[in-house]
């Protein structure tokens, strides 16, 4: 079998995790919860296209998206966050969103299930998300350096964390409130 075509390039990688999904399923049942998630992911897909991004995959109550231009990331993140307060389906159902952002080289491939991205940079975005605080975006230093200066000045103090298989990663936190 011929290996699938692949392309290695730098991308901004966004990972988003929904807080409160377990509570939603427990309170309203999995049928309602799956309908709510489906609608959320439809909106997320639409918003990613509007901001020139690509949702790579939805995984349970989270999604992975990529952007060629990092300047498109924050408008996308803000539009996703707005969904929770403006869309009646989501108001009161989710506690909030956890975002993380990294910039790095990934291998883009076409697979039997669609497009996917591979590489250590994906893991970095996901591991950063595990340091989550509600309604903050955790941004790696590599990503922050490429972002508009407004966001760089708003970002919190530099922190670092060592991740298994990746090593030390420097990052900053940016509060989404007020953006």
């Amino acid at each position: 079998m011929q290996a699938p075509a692949s392309l290695r390039k730098p991308l901004a990688i966004v990972f988003c995790d929904i807080a409160g999904s377990t509570h939603l399923t427990a309170q309203e049942g999995d049928l309602v919860a799956s309908g709510v998630f489906r609608e959320f992911f439809e909106h997320a897909g639409r918003l990613s296209r509007e901001h020139h991004g690509l949702i790579i995959k939805f995984i349970a109550d989270s999604f992975l998206a990529t952007f060629e231009n990092i300047d498109d990331v924050m408008p996308f993140v803000i539009s996703i966050k707005s969904l929770l307060s403006r869309n009646s389906t989501f108001v009161g159902r989710f506690s909030g969103l956890y975002f993380s952002l990294h910039y790095g080289n990934v291998t883009c491939i076409e697979t039997s299930y669609g497009s996917d991205v591979l590489g250590e940079a994906v893991n970095v975005a996901v591991y950063l998300n595990e340091l989550k605080v509600l309604n903050e975006i955790i941004i790696s230093q590599a990503a922050l350096e490429r972002m508009p200066s407004d966001y760089r000045t708003r970002a919190g103090a530099s922190e670092s964390r060592s991740f298994k298989g990746v090593g030390e990663v420097e990052f900053r936190r940016l509060k989404l409130r007020g953006l």
Partner: protein, 219 residues
């Protein structure tokens, strides 16, 4: 007072936990009959597990309906229990390959295996605790799991049967302590009931690079 309050707390030990699932056992039983085929297959599997496990520290063997939950114990070293468990699983796969060549197609055994290491509660002829659940979660991983994994291998590279998956803990032990097996990441996965992302590995046998543990079909 709850009934459980009267019972002593179970002993806690670190064991290698193995979950073995018989591929398409229900389908085979439905097609060819439980009494004609199904029960013989399961009895053969139980017998083979006993043969390969006995000298390798097999301590618990409980039926899960279409497979077995096994645990391996080593009084000297928990890590060695994991190595013995992997050794037993590959020996089991090797014997099954031989057996499959000698029996009719409907009586062929094909397995999915998962190995994890962790603390378990010892209850009579059974084990309890989150590490047991983790081993079952690993065993449930299939090709269909890969689209929701991060950094996954291509689904086509994931075998359909006769393979061994393991947790990060076991992969680390195998990498450090033996050259007999290779471990390759299949991706980061979320396992139901467990927080965060878990890297899951496939164990391959370097002695038999194209063997059953590498995922070849064994019809």
């Amino acid at each position: 007072m709850a009934a459980s309050d009267a019972e002593p707390m179970p002993e806690v030990v670190t064991e290698a936990i193995v979950v073995i699932d018989l591929v398409e056992s229900t389908l085979t039983s439905n097609l060819f009959g439980w009494y004609a085929v199904g029960r013989h297959s399961l009895r053969d599997l139980r017998s083979l597990i006993g043969e390969v496990g006995r000298s390798r520290g097999l301590r618990c063997m409980r039926s899960t309906g279409d497979g077995y939950l096994l645990t391996f114990y080593d009084p000297q070293s928990a890590e060695m229990a994991a190595i013995r468990a992997v050794e037993a699983v590959f020996e089991l796969l090797r014997r099954i390959l031989t057996r499959n060549q000698e029996v009719s197609e409907e009586r062929a055994l094909n397995l999915r295996c998962a190995v994890h290491l962790g603390e378990v509660d010892v209850v009579p002829n059974d084990r309890e605790g989150p590490h047991v659940s983790m081993a079952f979660r690993l065993e449930e991983i299939s090709r269909a799991s890969l689209p929701t994994a991060l950094n996954p291998i291509p689904p086509e590279q994931f075998p359909l049967q006769n393979y061994v998956l393991c947790s990060e803990e076991v992969a680390g032990i195998l990498s450090r302590r033996t050259k007999q097996w290779g471990v390759a990441s299949i991706g980061l996965l979320r396992l139901k009931g467990f927080p965060g992302w878990r890297e899951v590995f496939r164990v391959t046998s370097e002695e038999h690079p194209t063997d059953i543990g590498g995922g070849m079909l064994v019809s």
